[in-house]
């Protein structure tokens, strides 16, 4: 398969919608000039030196609000009894995430891959983790830092991270105590196999399910395997006690004090928000089952006598090396970035790049370059039964609501005067039903095998993101775009503390209050578009210009409808631009991403 050189803007836009969280016209120009392959290689060769990118920013934002709180309410706002605690609530991570997503000039592919990994190795602030944005940001740093690294390293760090320990409950988990009918918690043992590595059924190298003599899929493990593996994740404890302010029951000297199973402190205080959530969990061998373990029919063996960290590392290495993991993770990455129904050869190519240690960089490179290097799209997307011809390339996937949001915001360079793009995410989560690290359960926002009724089902395809597309969200999305483009109501940014006397120790979250702070309000930059819109003779070209940027296409089938809808106010350039942007943002050309 010869390498096809496709560097016109249309190809660049299609590629960027797969590769990054958002792009603007300038980036399209840059990539077109440099060439897609060259840009991809350069972008992926950038190293991350700072391992605490998201944590530092989250902490800075939280510190900023603490300072504001003290200035407004005095020291009592962050220390002492009788008030709501000024904890590092989830919003500070949201703000950091949005700030980076909307303002970063580099590491763009890495950001997209980190988000894709966050929908695989799921933790969520719809849990007690909402009390620790700094911990969650530190977890996100793992995804970001290892995005082009090694999956085994990433999964080891994830397994030992206190946020995962809280979310899937293997923190403070102890070995069996048969006399008291107490067995180890099985939660993490189950999900590390089902969701993070080997999945439920034996897979071929191309991601298809192996079948037994009766044509049925072959389970990878059973409950005995889970019970056996649960013995590994025992004896893990939080790094140390750490509470963010002092009260009548919490003396600052308790901070940094080691946590022990039998230290007389109730278990309710051995988790967020009373412990450090950024250092790896600590092992306590007295409560760790040090016996030998043998599961998956001898495919996963531990000799016993090892400490918990070494066992976790070994388990992860063996699970990642399992022949299922490469196609399992490959499929997830392809579905997140490029298409819902990858052809078997595509899955196999990415799985081979991933290999037995889990080379994420090689896998991501393959995910993004394979569609560029295969001019025959039938090698990329599983056939839908209907022939594909003409200028239209096949649908890859529905963009997730979050991805649509990040792309629209970057496309028109949403920014504010304060330079703090600290989006709280509150309303976004409500209307999109999606927000980073905020899934309803460990099963992510949508399941990988979801298929809506109608033509997709009839073609035998899956379309995971459609699980979020309902009679409510379909309209919510259109309304969101209306608010953004016409009502000047972009996502609310908060740099002020709450004015609600019932909730003094949080940022202001009410969008009706935030809108009155002009320096913080995000606005779109339509400068180049407005210039064209001032001249009605250029309106046709303007529609093509904007649709090329937003969808990679010109000559949209509803171009005449767009023109008709601004006909009566063609002399109002802003309305013209807003109308074009709105109509394209809700169109299939934008919402459905092509391969």
């Amino acid at each position: 398969m010869g390498r096809e050189i496709r560097n016109n803007k249309s190809d660049v836009v299609r590629f960027l919608s797969q590769a990054v969280l958002g792009y603007d016209g300038q980036l399209v120009e840059n990539v077109a000039r440099r060439g897609i392959h060259n840009w991809l290689e350069k972008e992926m060769s950038q190293k991350v030196i700072n391992r605490s990118t998201y944590r530092q920013l989250t902490k800075q934002i939280w510190d900023y609000f603490r300072t504001e709180l003290v200035a407004e309410h005095g020291e009592a706002a962050i220390n002492g009894d009788g008030n709501n605690p000024a904890l590092p609530y989830k919003w500070y991570f949201h703000m950091a995430w949005w700030h980076r997503t909307l303002t970063s000039r580099n590491h763009l592919i890495r950001q997209r891959v980190a988000l894709a990994l966050s929908e695989l190795l799921v933790i969520s602030d719809k849990s007690s983790l909402e009390l620790d944005a700094v911990g969650m940001a530190d977890y996100y740093d793992l995804l970001y830092h290892h995005a082009f690294g090694n999956y085994a390293d990433l999964l080891t760090d994830v397994s030992l991270h206190p946020c995962m320990g809280v979310y899937l409950s293997h923190m403070n988990n102890r070995k069996a105590d048969p006399g008291r009918n107490i067995h180890p918690d099985e939660n993490y043992a189950r999900e590390i196999m089902q969701l993070f590595t080997i999945g439920l059924f034996e897979l071929n190298g191309d991601g298809s399910e192996m079948l037994d003599g009766e044509g049925k899929p072959i389970p990878t493990y059973d409950n005995r395997d889970i019970k056996e593996l649960a013995r590994v994740f025992t004896g893990l404890q939080p790094p140390f006690y750490q509470y963010e302010w002092s009260t009548g029951f919490w003396d600052p000297s308790y901070n940094n004090y080691p946590v022990d199973f039998e230290d007389g402190v109730e278990k309710a205080f051995k988790t967020v928000p009373f412990v450090n959530m950024t250092n790896p969990m600590k092992g306590n061998e007295q409560y760790h089952d040090r016996g030998a373990k043998n599961l998956l029919g001898g495919k996963l063996v531990l000799p016993g006598g090892q400490n918990v960290q070494d066992e976790v590392k070994s388990v992860v290495a063996q699970l990642v090396a399992h022949s299922n993991t490469a196609p399992f993770v490959a499929k997830h990455l392809i579905r997140q970035l490029v298409c819902s129904n990858p052809a078997p050869a595509y899955v196999e190519a990415v799985a081979n790049a991933f290999g037995s240690v889990g080379d994420l960089g090689a896998a991501v490179y393959e995910v993004l370059s394979y569609p560029l290097d295969n001019s025959n799209v039938n090698n990329v997307v599983q056939s839908s039964g209907s022939e594909v011809s003409g200028p239209t390339r096949p649908a890859g996937k529905m963009k997730s609501p979050l991805l649509r949001a990040t792309q629209v915001l970057r496309m028109f360079k949403a920014s504010n005067d304060s330079g703090k793009a600290w989006v709280t995410g509150e309303y976004m989560d409500e209307s999109l039903r999606q927000h980073p690290l905020s899934s309803p359960t460990v099963f992510n926002f949508y399941s990988p095998d979801y298929t809506p009724h109608g033509p997709i089902e009839e073609a035998g395809l899956v379309a995971p993101e459609f699980e979020l597309h309902t009679s409510a969200t379909a309209i919510d999305y259109v309304n969101l775009m209306y608010y953004w483009f016409f009502a000047d109501r972009l996502p609310a940014v908060s740099t002020i503390i709450s004015g609600d006397p019932d909730y003094i120790n949080v940022p202001e979250l009410d969008p009706d209050v935030l809108i009155t702070y002009p320096k913080d309000r995000l606005t779109f930059d339509f400068m180049p578009e407005l210039k064209m819109a001032g001249d009605p003779r250029k309106h046709d070209a303007l529609i093509d210009h904007m649709s090329l940027l937003m969808t990679g296409k010109t000559g949209l089938p509803f171009k005449d409808d767009i023109k008709a809808s601004f006909k009566k106010y063609a002399d109002n350039p802003l309305w013209v631009v807003q109308t074009i942007a709105f109509m394209i943002s809700i169109s299939p050309e934008f919402v459905i991403q092509e391969v």
């Binding site: 899937l168 409950s169 403070n172 988990n173 008291r180 009918n181 107490i182 067995h183 918690d185 099985e186 939660n187 189950r190 089902q194 439920l200 044509g215 889970i226 019970k227 278990k267 309710a268 239209t392 096949p394 649908a395 996937k397 529905m398 309803p440 359960t441 099963f443 399941s447 979801y450 298929t451 809506p452 009724h453 109608g454 033509p455 997709i456 009839e458 073609a459 395809l461 459609f466 699980e467 309902t470 009679s471 409510a472 969200t473 379909a474 309209i475 259109v478 016409f486 089938p557 509803f558 409808d561 009566k568 106010y569 109308t579 109509m583 809700i586 169109s587 299939p588 919402v591 459905i592």
Partner: protein, 470 residues
Amino acid sequence: MSNIFDHELSRRSFLQKSALLTAASGLAVSGVAPVIRPLQAQAAGGLTSIKPQNKALVFIMLDGGNDSFNMLVPISSPHYEEYSKTRANLAIDKRDLIPLKNFHDKEGRHFSLHPSMPETAELFHRGKLSFIANIGPMITPITKEEFHSGGRLPLGLLSHADQFKHWQTARADQRLNRGWFGSFADMLQPDRAIDRIPMNISLAGSNIMQNGVGSSHYTITEEGSIGLVVNEIDNALNRELLRSFENLLTKDYGRDPFSRTYLSQTREAQAQHEAFRDATITVPVQTEFSSTPLSAQLRKVAQTIYAAEALGHAQQTFFIRYIGWDHHDELLNNQRTMLSVLSRALGEFQAALHEMGLEERVVTFTGSDFGRTLTSNGNGTDHGWGGNTIVMGSAIQGGRVFGNYPRLGLGDENPLDVGSGVLIPTTPLERLYAELAVWFGLEPAGARGLFPNLANFDHTMYPALRLFGS
């Protein structure tokens, strides 16, 4: 209109496809197809059908696996002592439990409720609520020995996704994307026009239970249906935008199933919103509801049932998902809070139905992925199988515990314990579902088509529940 959304055509071609698959593989690919076929034949003298009776079924999924042996607890001796010994540090103190009066099972077992559920106890005592003991998805009867020697187990036993699926389909031998509420809609609204609102209404977005072969559900929120802002603020600009939007929705994206589906779903949502809003918005509810999402959702359900006629619904189903019951950790604290939310919401909902004169027409029931291990993992419990479920409504025989409440001992002393207090169910889901479906109007013979595995359970070991009397 263009051919973007040709409902009838899609449905037919899909049926043809599944018929081919069935013939080729020798497997029953579609569990619901047998019910649909007779319906199409029905016009010509018909077999199975469902008679619209102006009723509603409300399903509340306790998502994550409710530890229901701490919800419905035996309180008599020696049953409580057995409970207490097995559950060790998770056992609830006998003095805190709420005794359920005027009922004991045939083994002389008396029951009590979790301390945080006074409203539920009151409904029980007033004959409006019962429990089904140790129910769960099964394919065939199975013994402990068979369990350990390769007997037929529900697919993905003990895992969330599959067990949630089985609760929606009652087909534990398959992984289907269609459920039994969906087959009702296939039968009752086979050729629904796009501006007619689906009878299956979800407050939890996409789900399997309300998906049929061709039918799907209508998603609302606790506030009601979602409408276009451009449609609600009338000005020149918005009128133009609305017209363009509606034109866009009818564009033909012939070759691309993704674009077609995106547009047709958006179009349908847009067509149905106004009708839904107009029918429901003015329905008065006097009963006070708590501010929890569950209560707010049930309030909206009550309004929607009241508005059934205005919505053109002969029958309705509702799907609610209350997430967060996977209590591997902090079981006692978290379950207490959540059961209290559930109990209050049930009390409020039933009171509202009474106030609105709808009580006889509605049956509400809960489901949950699975019961949990009877034994503790220190601070919580792990995935199990059989569990106890709630059924509520004036139409049912209230104040009872149906089915066989299991012994709660471990190991050799309990033939149902397959390890750590994971219990083999004593009632298959289909027993409950079939009785609900017949109450809902399904001809009794139709239950066999809807729940094919029911035939695997004889009436001696697995007697009918007789939830609605004889």
